[in-house]
């Protein structure tokens, strides 16, 4: 085998991702991007030089996907709470600190959240944040965040105390340990489901500052719950299972449902997380039949969260 000289590539075992002070276990991918608002200055009489000038807001984006391990670290950010994110480069078992930050972002707000689960897969979460602070190998002076120091201190303290940093109590849910409470169908007919939350944000910028004065949440917040379920055979005189709804009854008799989703640890059956949504409106349903498998229905429900439902 040929010897490849040079430094080793950075791999997952040497990276740790923290959202604020908490390490996110089970992270599968992290993507951070940032753009400087630069445009070339073009003018009449140009003499061959095109200087870059600033025009527009700084735009940052953070997206991640993670397995549901122990808890859901992202659902609480659907509110107005700002998040800082830190990707440290460190040897396994070594504590993190400001010096180990590879790249970090400050003042992120969650814009998109998705929880997915299907038979044969561990539940997973995807999230996207718009970043209004800074991004890069941040330090106290350029972090643009009042909480930066406290969070780094808390991370350093917890990773120092955690020994090698990779041993922790693994609590994980699998499709067998998920309970869906919904009147329209049975949990044991669900092949896959997803919960998608879109939180529209409107940054308000003032003169004299490149950071927004305020980031408004644009209500209502849309929650879409999609299910793919196996259909019961009614020829077999089965009275259970999903019955298609006449959607043209909307808006006179809308099909409204409440959903409670509970995730339990597959080892101990301890409750890990509960999601609950009320007044979900059935907005679409589709029927799929093919020669290779069961007939399936795809159902999409939507709830609109306003300030009173928070």
């Amino acid at each position: 085998m040929a010897h490849i000289p040079g430094p080793l590539r950075l791999r997952r075992e040497n990276q740790r991702f923290f959202l604020s002070s908490t390490e996110v276990r089970g992270t599968q991918s992290v993507q951070m991007s940032y753009a400087a608002p630069s445009i070339p200055l073009k003018h009449i009489g140009q003499t061959g030089v095109y200087p870059e000038i600033a025009n527009g807001p700084y735009l940052g984006n953070f997206s991640t996907s993670t397995l549901f391990v122990n808890n859901d670290p992202y659902i609480s950010y659907t509110g107005d709470y700002l998040a800082n994110g830190y990707l440290h480069e460190t040897e396994e078992g070594k504590p993190t600190s400001e010096d180990t930050i590879d790249i970090a972002f400050t003042s992120g707000v969650l814009t998109s959240y998705s929880f997915q689960c299907s038979i044969g897969a561990i539940p997973s979460i995807s999230a996207e944040f718009a970043v209004f602070g800074n991004m890069g190998p941040l330090t106290m002076s350029n972090a643009n965040s009042d909480r930066f120091n406290n969070e780094i201190d808390a991370q350093t303290a917890s990773t120092s105390a955690a020994g090698n940093g990779k041993d922790f109590t693994l609590q994980i849910a699998d499709p067998r340990s998920i309970q869906i409470s919904m009147n329209d169908f049975e949990t044991n007919r669900v092949n896959s489901f997803s919960v998608d939350i879109n939180v529209a944000r409107r940054p308000v910028y003032g003169l004299g500052d490149s950071t927004p004065i305020k980031i408004c949440r644009d209500f209502p917040i849309s929650v879409e719950c999609s299910f793919q379920i196996d259909l019961d055979s009614h020829d077999m005189r089965s009275k259970t299972g999903y019955q298609y709804k006449p959607l043209r009854d909307f808006p006179c008799s809308p099909n409204l449902e409440n959903l409670t989703l509970q995730l339990f640890d597959h080892n101990t059956d301890g409750l890990l997380q509960t999601y609950s949504f009320t007044d979900l409106l059935l907005v679409s349903q589709s029927h799929g039949a093919n020669i290779d498998g069961n007939a399936v229905a795809s159902l999409t429900y939507r709830a609109l969260i306003d300030k009173k439902k928070l």
């Binding site: 608002p37 445009i39 200055l41 073009k42 003018h43 009449i44 009489g45 140009q46 003499t47 061959g48 030089v49 200087p51 000038i53 600033a54 025009n55 527009g56 807001p57 529209a200 409107r202 308000v204 910028y205 003032g206 003169l207 004299g208 500052d209 490149s210 004065i213 408004c216 644009d218």
Partner: protein
Amino acid sequence: MIYFDEIDLAVKPKGAASYSGILADKCSLSISNSIQENYSIGRTGVLGTSPNGPAQASINFSYFVETASEPCFEVVRLLKNHHATKCDISFAGTTGTFYLDGYDLASAPNDTIKASANFACFDLITGKNLGKFSRHNSTINYNTSRSTANGWSTYLVETGISGHARQHPTLGLSYSFSAKHEPMYCIGKQVPSQVDFMGAKESLRTIKTELYNAHQSGISGQHANLANTGSFSGEAYFSPTLLSCSNGMSDSSLEVNLSGHIITETSIDSQVSDLVLTSISSEKYF
């Protein structure tokens, strides 16, 4: 045919040593004369045309403001101090002596500050190469001060209101100045013997998140000092974006004194998915 980078746009206010290049993205020069058609009884069709007013020209351009080199605002500053002034403008090989008609400057959050100016010429426009566009007859330098400005570095300091800009934020600012010049013509001359500066108006429109009443007297308003008098005082500063970079750049902010402004209109606007905003217009006459 030549391209935009093969011509110049430069302004030299009265008293300035040389022309300053303008970072214009658009410029338009219009030359017009007034004619009248002549008809006569006993004849079908037109007899001919004759002059019916002076030939005039106007030029307007929009451009990125260099706070350390802003010749058009220098004209505004002179007019505000009642110093009648004119300036020479060179555009695409033409030159002329112009008088300021209007000047607008707007700053919006995150955006590069742009201004536009409108000048009138009552004399003849000349050109060094008649019939061909060309550069100015000496080298014009552009962007030597590197002092373009941005909403990030625009500050409205209002008299009577203290605290950080984020406490009383300004979400937009537009400034305009219009001047009235009167050419004096005499019999026997095609061009005016003199052009008088008659008066000027300065206007400011700001977008705020608080109410400013427009009453000059009478009922009390919501915003203590300003509301009762209906007046507006302060300074607007347009600073170079690079000033905050700790690179030793000297402060060459463009400063606009707004003392003595009277609030003429306040409008409160609201629409879905947006803040409630107040637009305040104030004016001052010279």
